[in-house]
């Protein structure tokens, strides 16, 4: 049986909100080390990979590995029944038919419990090869979201170009073009507001604005985000969690 308790329901809500933009149904793989999820969108262009380590839960136990097949739209409906500050408990029996979701408010005088029916999902697992990334850019997640949002009004794709001097986001559309350049900056008081660039060689990738914008739904999960790039390889957009991570991979657009 599985039992996992999170101090704040908002964490799980935000994760599900970010993932449901890309996939409708997926398996949550639960083991004694934590809860993991890996899924591709229907057009096989992007992949989301979530890891919630057991020590990120205030209480966690999972006796046997189980895969919980969930419809994320339905899960969202259930999660809306709880407040952000509520304590959230996920519970499933051996060979479960449903997942039990329990909310307890901070005063501990209100407890609500919902059961969500499970689905049978056969999901392919992809092996992600170790990639030597040419560039790793760490920047405030809100900044990344703003760039994607601004550029989505202009073009269907964004080109990310990284050199020693800085990182340049640019786009070109019917109405015109635009670019944003960020230089490495350090801030002693707010380390999460810093922009850092680790670079072994200059790199440039062109990516779909629509997908990047979907990834940005995870902005609330972490103050900073890291982008890892290698030529002609999928970009890795990673939001670190207190104990775990939410990663998105996106295949680049290729010139013929």
């Amino acid at each position: 049986m599985l039992e996992g308790k999170l101090e704040q329901a908002s964490l799980f809500k935000k994760i599900v909100d970010a993932v449901k933009e890309l996939v409708q149904d997926c398996n949550f793989d639960c083991s004694d080390s934590g809860i993991a999820l890996q899924a591709m969108d229907t057009s096989h262009v992007s992949l989301v990979s979530l890891l919630l380590n057991a020590d990120g839960f205030s209480e966690y136990r999972c006796d046997r590995n189980i895969a919980l097949g969930l419809n994320l739209t339905s899960l969202t409906k259930i999660l809306r029944c709880g407040n952000n500050e509520d304590m959230l408990t996920l519970e499933a029996q051996e060979n479960p038919d449903s997942l039990t979701v329990r909310f307890e408010n901070t005063q501990q005088d209100r407890m609500s419990e919902y059961a969500l029916k499970l689905m049978d999902i056969d999901q392919e697992h992809l092996g992600i090869p170790e990639t030597e990334y040419a560039a790793t850019i760490t920047l405030p997640s809100a900044e990344f979201q703003r760039i994607c949002r601004d550029m989505s009004a202009i073009s269907e794709s964004i080109t990310i170009e990284c050199t020693k001097a800085g990182v340049k986001f640019s786009c070109e559309g019917d109405i015109g073009n635009g670019s944003v350049t960020l230089k490495p900056s350090a801030s002693a008081d707010h380390p999460e507001a810093a922009t850092k660039i680790e670079l072994s060689e200059p790199v440039s990738l062109t990516l779909s604005t629509k997908y990047l914008l979907n990834f940005c739904k995870a902005t609330g999960l972490s103050p900073s985000v890291s982008l890892k790039l290698a030529d002609e390889n999928p970009i890795l957009v990673e939001y670190p969690l207190a104990s775990g991570h939410l990663r998105f991979y996106l295949a680049p657009k290729l010139d013929e």
């Binding site: 398996n27 049978d120 697992h125 999928p234 290729l254």
Partner: protein
């Protein structure tokens, strides 16, 4: 295939085909032009494949189609006499034939649009499958299930159906279908021959379920035939002349152009050429042709969205652990799916 559709479907309200001032039919060009634009707008780079000469074994099927057309011509004449407009329209549509000139016109149009095309030496489906197998294209788009027998890795159906029909595009993966049917590729081809293809008469009384059972039991067509012959009282009758080996050979070793020598290139559309041809010769609206050419140019420039499949490899599957009850229900569903897959056309 497509040209037939256009000549049949692209018509004015009075049921007449579209024509230019000098009375030449333009339905096929109209259809070709706008369908290609729609494909390109959706980020797909198409390659058209034209049929070559039909294989000898298709003569029977073609003769049948000829007879049907002749019948339709007769019925059309009848309808004309009785003045039944609805019937007249119906049978006129059945008498349609694509002429060699119309084929050439379509190719000329594609060339001006900068869209590559391939002349298949024989069956176009076989060439499509070969292109997909060689990785020159992602998938073969056809309504004809034969394409799977020519072993295309991916078949797309309903790709160009009207959006109003709300018909989802079906993607059939050959490997997964074989896995689901638990058949090898030669067995799958045998199964399809048993169910009836363009080259051979089907065996009466053999539906998808029986055919699958027969092939599984007797491994291949030789086995199935031996079984039927050994049981004269069985309800199945094999036609006297039934050269299934030849049909099998057509599927497994089709006559195709070597894909390595084919250079598929999407080029800038020749705008003045398009205007000259479509507007001056064929009486198209100039504004629309120019707008179409602009769309072609724009989409040619945009980079192609890559897929993750090339980078990440499948290492396993995770299945949610269903309870016994749900598992039973799921199995029942799975069986149905298999049957549907086995069905041809």
């Amino acid at each position: 295939m497509s040209l037939y559709q256009f000549l049949i479907a692209v018509r004015q309200q009075d049921g007449q085909q579209l024509m230019n001032e000098s009375g030449e039919t333009t339905s096929h060009l109209m259809g070709m032009f706008y369908r290609t634009l729609r494909i390109v707008d959706n980020g797909i780079k198409p390659v058209y494949v034209f049929d070559g000469h039909p294989p000898r074994m298709k003569n029977g099927e073609l003769a049948k189609r000829y007879v049907r057309r002749e019948e339709a011509v007769k019925q059309m004449e009848d309808a004309k006499e009785t003045g039944d407009a609805e019937k007249l329209d119906k049978f006129t549509r059945r008498t349609v034939r694509v002429t060699r000139e119309q084929n050439e016109e379509a190719k000329k149009l594609l060339k001006l649009m900068g869209i590559p095309y391939v002349d298949a030496p024989c069956e176009a489906e076989a060439q499509c499958a070969a292109l997909a197998k060689a990785g020159k294209v992602f998938a073969a788009a056809s309504e004809d299930m034969d394409t799977l027998c020519f072993s295309t890795p991916v078949l797309l159906r309903h790709l160009t159906f009207s959006e109003q029909r709300k018909m989802p595009i079906t993607e059939v993966e050959l490997l997964k279908s074989l896995e689901g049917l638990e058949l090898s590729m030669p067995q799958f081809v045998d199964l399809c021959i048993l169910l009836g293809c363009d080259y051979l008469e089907p065996i009466k009384g053999v539906g998808p379920a029986t055919a699958l059972k027969l092939i599984k039991e007797h491994k291949n067509l030789e086995g199935v035939i031996a079984h039927i012959k050994a049981n004269p009282e069985s309800r199945f009758k094999i036609p006297e002349v039934w050269p299934f080996e030849d049909a099998r050979d057509l599927f497994l070793n089709p006559e195709i152009q070597d894909t390595e020598t084919l250079d598929l290139k999407w080029e800038e559309p020749d705008v003045p050429g398009l205007v000259e041809y479509l507007v001056k010769d064929k009486g198209f609206n100039e504004e629309r042709v120019l707008a179409g050419a602009a769309r072609l140019k724009k989409n040619l420039k945009t980079a192609q969205q890559g897929r993750l499949d090339g980078f990440f490899k499948v290492v396993g599957t995770s299945s949610s652990t269903p309870s016994a009850k749900r598992k039973a229900a799921d199995n029942a569903k799975g069986d149905k799916g298999k049957k549907a897959k086995g069905k041809k056309k």
